[in-house]
Symmetry: C2
Subunit: 224 residues, 2 copies
Amino acid sequence: MTPAVVLLSGGLDSATTLAIAQKDGYACHCLSIDYGQRHRAELEAAARVATSLGAVEHRVMTLDLTAIGGSALTDASIAVPVDGLQSGIPVTYVPARNTIFLSLALAFAEVRGATDIFFGANAVDYSGYPDCRPEFMQAFEALANLATRAADDGRKLTLHTPIITLSKADIIRRGRDLGVDYAATVSCYQATADGAACGQCDSCRLRRAGFEAAGVADPTHYVA
Amino acid sequence: MTPAVVLLSGGLDSATTLAIAQKDGYACHCLSIDYGQRHRAELEAAARVATSLGAVEHRVMTLDLTAIGGSALTDASIAVPVDGLQSGIPVTYVPARNTIFLSLALAFAEVRGATDIFFGANAVDYSGYPDCRPEFMQAFEALANLATRAADDGRKLTLHTPIITLSKADIIRRGRDLGVDYAATVSCYQATADGAACGQCDSCRLRRAGFEAAGVADPTHYVA
């Protein structure tokens, strides 16, 4: 089987992306980044998801983004908004996060001899994030093809973003058809240690609305 | 003064790059990455260099690249070669390292409101490393200009690589003229805890030959 690296956050989008990569026949090497995020239950969810979908392995790399802060997710002094979607780039945006995550995935791919990277970015829900857009993904793929031994050997690196233009409802329907157990995933920006979701942050609102629009029962465990 | 982020390893090249950025009038925010490298004396050297050259600040970010390995610098089971330069990409090459370092510098730049990044990459000594070449740097700059808030606000991000085409001797002469104290820097891939250099690894050989070619006394502290 062809190896692929799959960035796995533990949330709904990346779980669906892993299911797609598995369905496409890749041997999936999952990578999660412990970057000091508040919602650490994500990482435990990522491990559950990797196991349940049959990934080859799941690695967690530690990166201390709290050393620079700049986001509600990495700086305890910035509150996570719970009063609905804001205009512009939200405070939960982590500076250059997708550039960082993709560069770490690229390193892991090189170590594993993989030339395929799967990334569950979405340009519909996260239209305010510059690094979620298709033109950013194309630029990263161009960079990756200049960055590694594989490029020197003439092997083309491909960045797959299979859900980038899907609505949340379409992602959920796709994942349901592929057997994703969404009860195992955690999307909340401020989930409790055991993975219970607040139901009020942007991520919870998007997720809940997605299940409603998809006509799929929401299996999320919310705090009382 | 205009803020800039300077990637600072503690070695000769990045110290010279910092001196150039300071001379050009930037307020320099230095970033070092503690990525599990064997030569940890580098990080202490970076702190000394930042202070001696008058940087605004020096931050160290921790990234555990040993979680994926793949290089003699991050995997204790792979030996550092001490028998002269090899052909091809050497085992001291760290997969996607420059992509990772630049992405972290980009994040720090965004947090500090900087649109200038200085990076002491060199395409002469490290011609075997794909991510040291000018075309890689151009591709990263293109990516960076799609990746952050600054891009959305119409502010152009510039990646400065002022020593990329200089020989080691030219770098040393340039730094000497700018007052860099090379005794404070550490280049050795397997420096001792107090920063003494082995004198035998590729990095030591390149550095020693550079001082000789520049006609500058080598201030490096070698092990007996």
